[in-house]
Chain length 469, copies 2
Amino acid sequence: MNQPVAAQYLRREFPAPLLDELKAILGSARVSTTAAVREHHGHDESHFQDALPDAVVFPETTEEVAAVVKACAARRFPIIPYGTGTSLEGHILAIHGGVTVDLSRMNHVLAVHADDLDAVVQAGVTRKALNAHIKDTGLFFPIDPGADASIGGMSATRASGTAAVRYGTMKENVLALTVVLADGRIIKTGRRTKKSSAGYDLTRLFVGSEGTLGIITEVTVKLYPQPEAMSAAVCRFPTMVDAANTVIQTIQLGVPIARADFVDPLTVRALNAHSKTTLEELPTVFFEFHGTEAGVKEQAETVQAIAGEHGAQAFQWAVKPEERSKLWQARHDAYFACLQLQPGCRIVSTDVCVPISRLAECLAETERDIRESGRLVPVLGHIGDGNFHLCIIVDPNSPSDIEAAEAMNERLVHRAIAMEGTCTGEHGVGFGKIAFMNEEHGDAIEIMRTLKFSLDPHNLMNPGKVIAA
Amino acid sequence: MNQPVAAQYLRREFPAPLLDELKAILGSARVSTTAAVREHHGHDESHFQDALPDAVVFPETTEEVAAVVKACAARRFPIIPYGTGTSLEGHILAIHGGVTVDLSRMNHVLAVHADDLDAVVQAGVTRKALNAHIKDTGLFFPIDPGADASIGGMSATRASGTAAVRYGTMKENVLALTVVLADGRIIKTGRRTKKSSAGYDLTRLFVGSEGTLGIITEVTVKLYPQPEAMSAAVCRFPTMVDAANTVIQTIQLGVPIARADFVDPLTVRALNAHSKTTLEELPTVFFEFHGTEAGVKEQAETVQAIAGEHGAQAFQWAVKPEERSKLWQARHDAYFACLQLQPGCRIVSTDVCVPISRLAECLAETERDIRESGRLVPVLGHIGDGNFHLCIIVDPNSPSDIEAAEAMNERLVHRAIAMEGTCTGEHGVGFGKIAFMNEEHGDAIEIMRTLKFSLDPHNLMNPGKVIAA
């Protein structure tokens, strides 16, 4: 890619003794400076140029993370936490150099409290691994950002995804964290109780802080009883606005839909090609309903009636688990499917969220912008939350292509913010959205900066992300 | 009361010119130093001794609050926000002296976005006033701590109450805040979107900060569609443990009960005497169900079946709105009903929350403690959340009585914390629970202290609350 990411930032020099210190803590086998390992940790799934760390370490315990942080802090050297590398705004790029702390070996489920509907996991446990671990308990962890991200990474970016419309985001689903701070201290941010009024909500401060205030090493998450019944349906609409209005009315009626995901005709075309499905190329909503047998039936009838008023075709059902999985796998493959729309392309992925009353308007204006641009831009999103994405297809070797994509992204963000929206509903800030933070937050950004430097005075924790230095 | 509250704390001297400065900002009519007004603002509903502010001001806008804060800050004089004075841990007592900022004139609903299911209110709007304002929209604000508290105060203490088991606490129901900081700056902490990943969660930092980080002047809250059907029922159990286990199993099955409130036989006796009801004096749970007609019926059947397995009597129903109101009014009057159990008494009210798997055990140990004490101690709570209260009846003129009550409170808090619980599920810290913060949070308390002093370096915002100086 042509983004001159690394060149824009001051890169601190790797302090030579630090390598030996890290090896003394973890042993040589868990400290790497090989090109392959550094390259693997030097990019995420965004379109940004690689920015390699100087070393990568693989701790297995919170105490080891703390020792690594202390060693780096003593040398004033940056520290970047790394989960599965699936972030989309450059969160894990080592733009100032630094030591990447890969948490993938912290992959143990530490406790499952089935009676309390919670589990305590190490940060590197992925959402699918957690669900596999608990599948016999009758419980599940519903947050589903698509990628099989780590629970620590999902916490750090305040992830959400398809099921947030029913189950909320990581903000609502993390009960407590263990965090290693910038000076190596270890804290627990909360307890397993369903609620507490005992002081400042440190849990929520670290959820969404993207590694800039500390490294999340353990997470206590809420679990939910597996619904007695689940069904999914695909529904096609004459226009994007009809689809949006159906979902908006559904929400306003209080129907507890589990998922309501929109894909535009271009995304459908990409999915058909990639997943060998034969979906009709129309604005489409994927619905899912969770509840009792009777409850699911009732929800589906209500939504079908609303959809009918907006000119929708009849629901196409997927009731069996394998049919549902196939349907949602297709939806989750959208990113990769869109990558195949143009040989050799990359995607500039963007993400905004607006109040749902403005969603149809925001989508319509965006559709017009895309049409006028003449570009290939699949649109999809979690419209029950007012959250949608553009997958702007670009030739990675064309500076003008990338410039045009970034301009479209900027127009989208300005449009969303003007409609009382946010520059990112779920992807996070990383450094990709840092330029919009002032526009969105005004003076509040100064408070974020105060908090950042009160907890990380030397700007060592994932520097250059969330808060511009 | 005999608590030597004011005497324990250094009281700063009122800077003489400040009074004129405040009058210049608000006009003389909205600045008071009369004994009656100061006394009214010098106590809450706790058992703690009065601690009067030096002056009380009545701003009507965020800008006026900012000007007041700037004037006080310039003189390094404490500032205490005041909603309706219904807090239970001494939150609004001016223990270091100071200017109390009474927000009751900030009582305007600024906007109702029915399509987005949210409303923007000034901090002084009470929950009942908001619900009266929106009653024709088909929406409601569900958070119900009992008292008709202000939305600003409820945000500041992270309030919850009877309906939290279904709708969450203020943490889940505040979308954004306008806050006046310790130096008079005004910030907005978030936007009206259902979700955002754009930076640190300032909203959640201020929710539950009890006026110690800034003054909340406007709140954007979530609203919910009024359920198609609602019904309430009273159910009596052989023992407290049977009642707890019924609610625990209900939660574990994922039944979306709207309320599940427990009262012990002594509370029932008090309610009967106060509300002229004729409830049988047994461990009792008040249930409420919200949903579609069919959904409510189904939920109720499931819960009745579970209750039956735990030896419960048949449900006694309240389906009509006036019957439901009467039932919940009786429940909400519990505090005042208990005050009548002993002529001239006061209540030392306490509040803990434990993981629900430990609830039955915690209640049983507490019941034993009460029995052994020989004291009059009604027990009640929101057991669907693992949250319960003791109303320890004391003679306010008996130091030994108060000492015994405080010792019982301490034993309860230690018991709850040992069971991975919290020293307060919903009442907040104020200064009443400050002594337990180290035990609960360990090193994390130092981080809370860092945050406090980064935002309020001169300790002017409600000093002596949440964080010990």
